[in-house]
């Protein structure tokens, strides 16, 4: 019998806001965070729209009380993780067996790519401070050290499904009685490396993206961090904490079709959603809202869209991709969208899929075009699918 895993804290920073409140305001106003590149010089400036967090590295460092900036990935992570811990109501994390599980695809690459400019000309040059936190795990430890957590610290890297996997691992560790409290999620900063990488795959939209639209032509990269605080039922009751939602089901599968493309029928995503629902012991009819992976690429939206239709048949619930607001935040997307999913439950909202106009012809449903409020949202399904066929789905339910 699985124990209840509660979410008692949320923290999020993305292109649409530096906190939960700012994020909710952006959803209400329908203001997307997609805009031009400002963080670094690039030939793609004014060509490729992105979802940047509206804080420079210096501003972030100052907000966080750091003497000087560290890797942006860690700073975004610290900002969101601190919010989550504060929101959780837990006074002293270390009075419990506590874990910190993060996810990132870029790690400290935002600094490494600067190092390489000098280093490639002369291997004795380049500032070593720029590469000391290159490793994914190193950026995680910067955040864990800031929170004062050391019982269990880990980093998952499964491309765009990474931070859902962090939340899943955290839930499993609590369920098995190995930990009492886990701060879980992910963070990724926008880097020239990833921007050019995705551009070489020709899947970036030169306009603000249109997920799940028939005319969609790619994704916009984003950045940010999203963390939740997971606690056991015992800790919730003992500390009289408030449950925002529970983690009621999850699954991790592999599409095993191609290194970057998803199978046309979405076999990996279908299996992930189906198994997550099975574990949560709820039927397709009980899902009130799906936060789509919905990147805006021809391939993902077609594959995911088909898998949803195969699973839900004529009973597809309200769906939307929030990546039209934030851009695709890669390793952070699962964590950020987990926060959005829990907010949907708390507020009774279902978010709009901005810039949607035309239904994908092969699908029998379309995403929401407007923010819907005053709903009863009991169960939300959130999808995150990544390169390498890594597919993860998670169900959040009212606590």
């Amino acid at each position: 019998m699985r124990s209840l895993i509660h979410i008692t804290g949320l923290g999020v920073v993305s292109a649409i806001g530096n906190s939960v409140d700012e994020t909710l305001q952006a959803f209400e106003k329908g203001t997307s965070g997609i805009g031009p590149i400002t963080l670094f010089p690039s030939i793609h400036q004014n060509q490729l729209p992105v979802g940047e967090v509206k804080l420079t590295n210096e501003a972030l460092a100052s907000m966080l009380g750091l003497q000087q900036p560290i890797t942006r990935t860690a700073m975004l992570g610290i900002l969101a993780a601190r919010q989550a811990v504060k929101d959780s109501g837990i006074k002293n994390l270390n009075s419990f067996r506590v874990g910190f599980i993060s996810a990132t695809t870029v790690g400290g690459m935002d600094r490494t790519e600067n190092f390489f400019i000098d280093y490639l000309k002369d291997k004795t040059t380049g500032n070593l401070d720029d590469v000391v936190h290159h490793e994914c795990g190193s950026t995680t430890e910067l955040i864990a050290d800031d929170l004062g957590i050391k019982d269990f610290i880990s980093t998952i890297n499964t491309a765009c499904s990474s931070s859902v996997n962090s939340i899943i691992l955290g839930s499993r560790l609590i369920d098995k009685g190995r930990l009492d409290v886990v701060v879980a999620g992910g963070t990724d900063a926008l880097t020239k490396f990833t921007l050019n990488g995705f551009n070489s795959l020709m899947i970036l939209d030169k306009e603000p993206c249109r997920p799940f639209d028939a005319s969609r032509s790619g994704l916009n990269l984003g950045e940010g961090a999203g963390f939740v605080v997971l606690v056991s039922d015992r800790v919730l009751k003992q500390e009289s904490l408030k449950s925002h939602a529970v983690v009621s089901g999850y699954a991790n599968t592999n599409d095993a079709y191609h290194q970057t493309a998803s199978s046309p029928e979405g076999r990996g995503s279908f299996a992930a959603m189906q198994q997550a629902l099975e574990m949560s012991n709820i039927s397709i009819r009980d899902i009130d809202y799906i936060n789509l992976h919905g990147t805006g690429t021809q391939n993902n939206d077609s594959s995911e869209g088909t898998a949803i239709q195969r699973l839900f048949g004529d009973e597809v619930p309200k769906v939307s991709s929030t990546k039209a607001f934030t851009g695709h935040t890669l390793g952070a997307s699962g964590g950020i969208e987990a926060v959005f999913s829990v907010l949907a439950i708390q507020k009774g909202w279902a978010f709009p899929n901005l810039r949607f106009k035309t239904q994908i012809p092969e699908l029998n449903y379309k995403p929401l075009q407007e923010l819907r409020k005053g709903l009863t949202i009991n169960h939300v399904l959130s999808n995150s699918f990544g390169f390498g066929g890594n597919c993860s789905s998670i169900v959040f339910s009212k606590g």
Binding site: S200, L201, M202, H258, Q259, A261
Partner: protein, 85 residues
């Protein structure tokens, strides 16, 4: 055209790391994708880079790929007609 096709075959083998092939193993009109050489969508992107790097031809829309990269011959024809412009 012959020389261009031979040159293309050499460059394709190098770009796609088809170490087990020699230029004479690739037919001028042999399908490059699906059947024939069995190349995939990533290879198509690599061929777009090849066209830009070696022949100064920019293909902005990957959807054009299947037509241009049908065979070495169609690639050579595309290069010839676009370089002349």
């Amino acid at each position: 055209m012959e020389a261009l096709m031979t040159d293309l075959k050499t460059k394709i083998i190098e770009a796609l790391n088809l170490k087990h092939l020699k230029p004479e193993d690739i037919g001028d009109e042999q399908p490059l994708f699906v059947d024939g050489l069995g190349l995939d969508s990533i290879d198509a992107l690599e061929l777009i880079v090849l066209m830009q790097e070696h022949y100064n031809i920019k293909i902005a829309d990957p959807e054009q790929g299947p037509k241009i990269f049908k065979s070495v011959k169609t690639m050579a024809e595309y290069i010839t007609s676009h370089q002349a412009a």
